[in-house]
Subunit: 144 residues, 4 copies
């Protein structure tokens, strides 16, 4: 099954995640790796200007999802079954957040993706998260 390029992913996000699609930009796709940007705005911030954990979780989940769709094509039924996240440092104030998502396994029914979050322009990891997705069966899909 054909994968998706950046414009196709952006269209897909606009349909499937209308509440957040305008804040999310797919930056690069490179084999099993997708890099996705969260345009940080007031609505993500807690008092004091900190970006909350749930917003970071959302970005990492969407980035992992984009990495998968870029390989297997549009499958809205793909669902998150498990996630783990370590929050390491406060993101830099006033900067967008970037997530690098790497597919570690693309199997017949399960996909595992490893992600790291960074503040735009910085090298230190702000958070680390892993995601497992279950995908509905389709012919010729997976590579173990």
């Amino acid at each position: 099954m054909a994968g998706m390029d950046i414009p196709a992913l952006q269209d897909f996000l606009a349909r499937e995640f209308p509440q957040v699609a305008d804040e999310i930009a797919v930056e690069t796709l490179d084999g099993p790796v997708a890099t996705v940007r969260l345009r940080v705005s007031e609505r993500h911030l807690r008092p004091g200007g900190t970006l909350g954990g749930p917003a970071m979780f959302l970005l990492a989940d969407v980035a992992a999802y984009c990495a998968i769709l870029s390989r297997i094509g549009p499958r809205a039924l793909t669902v998150t079954t498990n996630a783990g996240i370590d929050f390491l440092r406060k993101p830099a104030a006033g900067r967008d957040l970037l997530c690098r998502a790497e597919i570690l396994k693309l199997g017949w029914t399960l996909v595992v993706v490893d992600t790291r979050l960074f503040s735009d322009g910085e090298d230190t990891v702000v958070a680390r998260a892993n995601f497992t997705y279950s995908i509905p069966p389709a012919p010729g899909l997976g590579v173990s």
Copy 2:
């Protein structure tokens, strides 16, 4: 240090999480256990009417936070350091989501909370999540 009752928690949420406080209701506090409701509305739903993973993560995080604050009092600096979540089933359509959060360890610097999510009026677990929080030092706080 004194804990917080339901009205105090609700006030605290209104200040600290103004974006979501009107959707979140602390239902019961019972020792190390807090039960918190998410009033499900359009903005949490994906096309097709499914409640998204990040909204469930948010509810569980807030419920765990409320369980802690009910014991140690208002400490806005308490931060999530780690979380893990298993998404088990689709929540029932058109129903609020409830989270039961139980403190498993209230230590000097770390608190671990175990949570389960249910659709209102149903018994089957929709999701399971665990959270670790780091708390800033204060005299007389923790019990190991």
Copy 3:
């Protein structure tokens, strides 16, 4: 498919986990819940007499596996795909460790089990762990 009772489970462990079967005893089976004992011996202990994390991980994994097999019967191919564990307190010195494992979801391809570990005779939770297992397809197996 028929499940397994305690003697059948104990025989299965002796064949599949010969290195540890004599240290592991299935205590009770009750619907989706299995309780399993680790007879703590010198080989599990670190200098100073602490039970190591990997031994606790092993007990929780075996207990979760027993809970599943008690429902679906002997399926040696069932494999752990994901696990998360919080170590909360030192186990009591010189006591066996007990694990209570509860199946939260028994699906067609994935099973999720939640576990808690206790020192024998004590109430406080020593560790919490969650496990996801992938099971090979078979007719009439799962209940979602």
Copy 4:
């Protein structure tokens, strides 16, 4: 505080983990990254020759611990507080297992380490695991 080099780490393992030290070899240390080998032997294998999950967990835990000790020096009291692991593929039969452990955060009280496991001589990731350790206070230790 001074860190530890490979011979010092190997001595430390022999004292602290006498049951496994002869199977574990620290291969390389490079800044925040340690690579550690598990010499796979019969006692790690399940019937059929598969390496069990608990043995992989043990290797990753020890590798993460070595990465930390190489930076902060011998601190036997450092304890694992949380771990998550994804088992992705069967390790190659008859090969040692290697773990690459990278410190993501070395804080005052918490250290977070990300690890990946490989079969010796292969590129595909066999498992991914994350660990959080709590370290007892000491002057001049952490860098956030």
